[in-house]
Structure formats: C-alpha cells, structure tokens
Symmetry: C2
Subunit: 237 residues, 2 copies
DNA sequence: CGCTCGCTTGATCTCCTTCAAGGACAGTGG
DNA sequence: CCACTGTCCTTGAAGGAGATCAAGCGAGCG
C-alpha cells in the first residue's frame, strides 16, 4: 500500500517502465500517526528516512521571529514532502501535521538501493524534488506580488488541481483540513484579513472554504482571479 | 577554467574525492556572452545544456500579469543556476543577464556521463538543486512576512555571504550589478519604495548600495535588522 | 546639445495590520 | 440537562506600510 501510494505520486510527474514500477511498489516503510502540531521532522534534524502522507494534511514551515510561522507548502495524502532529505544533510525547516495524520516513514537506505538499481526511479525522484522547488517559486511569486484575494484564489487553485491529480477530489470539491490561521501563515497575511478575504471570494461565487472543505463552484472564474497557470506543477495527467 | 569554476561552486556545498574532483575539472562547455535582458533560457524551452555564470550577474524570473516581473534568484560568477534542467523536461521561468554577462553552456550529456561514473558528483549536483529550493523558501519567507527594510537587509546579507563563499567579495564589499528596479522585482515592492528603503538602511550605517556596489559596514547590525540566519545556504565554508 | 536611463522626491490613496471584542460550536464535568 | 471552557470564526474601528501618480534631477552618450 505504501509502494502503491508512492508509485501513484511519482507517476503524476512522469512515466516509469514495468520494472521500475515493480521496484517502487516493493518499497515499504513504517506507518505512524501524528497529532496536530507534533513535528515529524524539526529544523536541525538529520533524518534517515523520508515521509509519505497517507491521510490528513502535512505542512512544511519555519517559525518566525514574531512568534508566527511561515508555511512553505501543504502535502495531501500520497504526497512525499521530504524526499529532499536524501541529499541534504540537515533540515532547515519543520514538517508537521495540520490535523491528526498517518504517515509512512521510508528508510533512506531502501530508496537509495532502489534508485541505484533503477535509474528511471532516481530520475523521477529527483524530478519530484525539482517540482517542489518550482512550487516554492510559485508561492514566492504569489505572496510577493498578488493582492490577498488573488493570492488566496491561487492557493485554492493549486489545492484543487493537486488533489484532483492525486485522485482525492470529489469533482471540484476537496478536503483542506486547515484553520484560517494556517491560510494566514501560508499567504503571509493576518488572520483577520484571511477571514475578510474569504468573504470576498465567497461573494464572487467562485469558491467557498468552510470547516476544512474547499468547494470550487467556478474553476475558470477562480483561475481568472488568481491568474493561475498550472504549468509550474509539472503534472503529466 | 569551466571545470574549475564548477568544482569551486560544488565544493561550497560539500566535499569530493580526488577522482570526483578530477572528473569535474575535466568538464567543459561553450563560452558565450549575453547582453542585458537577452534571455538565455525562456519559459517553455527544453534546454539540452546547463548554464554556469562566468562574470556579471544572472537573474531567474517570470513575467507578471501587470507587466512587471518576479525575480526568483540572483546568480553570481561560478553559480550554476540551471542544473535543475537535467531532470525537468520543460522550463517554467526565464534566465537572463542583469548586465552583459559571459556564461558557459555545458551539455547535459557531459554532466550525465560524469554523474554516471561518479556517484559523489551526482549527489552533490542533486544537493545543489536542493539548496536552490532552500533559497526559494527563504525568499518566500522574506517577501511574505518581513517589512521592506528587513527584507532588503536579508537580501543584502545573502548576497554578501554568497559572494564571500565564492571568493568574489572584497572584505564586506561585493559587486551587485543591478538597478533598483531589479531589487524591486526581487523583493516584490515598488521601485519608489526601494529607493526610500535604501535611504533608511543607509541611515542606519549598516549598509549602502550605490551604482552596483554593495558595501556592508556593519554585518552584525545588518543581520540583526534582517533576522538573517545563513543556515539555509548550506555552505560548507 | 538634447536624449535616455536610472535615481530621487512629494502628495495622495488604499490595502492590510493591529487592537479589541463578541459569537458559534464542540467537549467536559457537575 | 446545563453551565463552563477552549478553539475557531467573525466584526468594528483606527492606524500604518507601501502603492500609485507625477514631476524633477543627474550622468552618460550619440
């Protein structure tokens, strides 16, 4: 089941031959459950395993000097947020669940061995880490130069598109189990302003977000508000 | 000379054995010169080579809907901004010189072959792309949650630290051949505000930036203003 | 000499923050 | 069954950081 989830995730970015796929399917790890805000990996750690989300939601963040935090990314079930630990020695940020979440911990050794024997798997895992980088750039663009309502619309577009690619969405509806405070930390705006911006977006009729569920009523309109171009996600389907 | 520059760059992030180093030294490429704003690589391209900066300054950016652009990163001499093209098929942003710049174009084939024979080189090149990602996160944090003077101080701290690591700085002074408009595009603030923020920083006595030269008079004070922690650069020296 | 490019300054406006308080809802214990 | 508590959401009012608009300045250059 772990190999299956990983294979599903990797093949959203590229293709694998039968042998490669079989090798990924054979990958296994330890399943563990974490409660909200119980860090899975902390800044300064030198992890010897990678993480695969099985349900719930994970977020990558750093604490800020003012007591808040900056959220760098959100990870839905089947996402693998920490494949980069394969080639960095030390973590410079934290990984934590936004709600109670089950994760698989996959030892680096298992991944090294598979990549060693199957170069296509190495190539695809490397690519996955590069797509992460591409997403950081998109977040940088968004938070630097978009007004709050457009930035929030952009984040929602990304969440919908990714959950659709992962097979998690129900039409144009997906779970996004976060509080408004997490949205504030992701967008770099205040909690109060998140609340007001959500109301503005709701009034457009394009989207609504309530109690952890994102409903996109008009994807085209939302993409228009967000100036959303999904190329940066590098999805193959 | 190209292999030398690449070796110098890679070994700022980690170590290589004698054989690995010799292999990197043997890497060669085509030297070419580009004028300002003549894109070296464009969004949508499928490059078959990577880029190494030899002098001047390169910037990574995307155009914005409003006619401006978002700058994602700056690349000093010996930096290799496009190693990620080894494992992504299509570019989703642009690479362009900020001033007349000489670059080396290194064919992917040469790099693949070297990485194939020297796993430590592969590991270090992969790590370099992950350090890039770490820098995108730092820029995201900075532009999302720091006021303009702190964000600018942070950018200046990064430029100084990186040029020092590359052996380009003269004490606490380094070349940063950009206009105030490029700073605006990097920080996500208006050109007018860049100008005023520069004056504020100059008044603190910590730093001055004028006609493409960055002078840090008080590194500790500047780091204090910026809340700068260089860990994200993952420098080994 | 006039031109362009980059830098500088002033005035006005607005988006967003901050502070402060109130409300909805679930969980808990009497 | 109902007060009690904590978490999250919502609203109002005031203040500030930065955007925008508009104009002037200085240096390099044909």
């Amino acid at each position: 089941m772990i190999g299956e989830a990983l294979l599903h995730h990797l093949t959203t970015f590229g293709t694998l031959g039968p042998d490669d796929a079989a090798a990924v399917l054979a990958i296994d790890g330890e399943v563990r459950s974490y409660g909200r805000d119980c860090d899975i990996i902390r800044s300064g750690d030198r992890p010897t395993y990678s993480v695969l989300a099985l349900d719930g939601l994970l977020i990558r963040y750093s604490p800020r000097a003012d007591g808040g935090r900056q959220v760098y990314g959100m990870y839905f079930p089947t996402d693998a947020p920490c494949l980069e630990t394969l080639h960095t020695d030390i973590m410079d940020h934290n990984l934590t669940p936004a709600v109670e979440t089950r994760v698989a911990l996959i030892p680096h050794a298992v991944l090294y061995e598979t990549m060693d024997r199957f170069p296509r798997v190495l190539s695809l895992i490397w690519r996955q880490t590069l797509v992460q980088a591409s997403m950081f750039r998109a977040w940088l663009m968004r938070n630097s130069s978009q007004p709050a309502h457009a930035a929030m619309a952009h984040l929602f577009c990304e969440c919908l598109r990714r959950t659709q690619a992962a097979g998690l969405a129900r039409g144009n509806v997906c779970d996004l189990p976060v509080t408004q405070e997490v949205l504030a930390d992701a967008l770099g705006i205040s909690l109060v302003h998140v609340n007001r911006t959500l109301q503005i977006l709701r009034q457009t009729g394009a989207v609504s977000f309530r109690s952890g569920v994102l409903e996109v009523h008009d994807p085209a309109q939302l993409a228009g508000i967000a100036d959303f171009d999904p190329h940066y996600l590098h999805l193959h389907r």
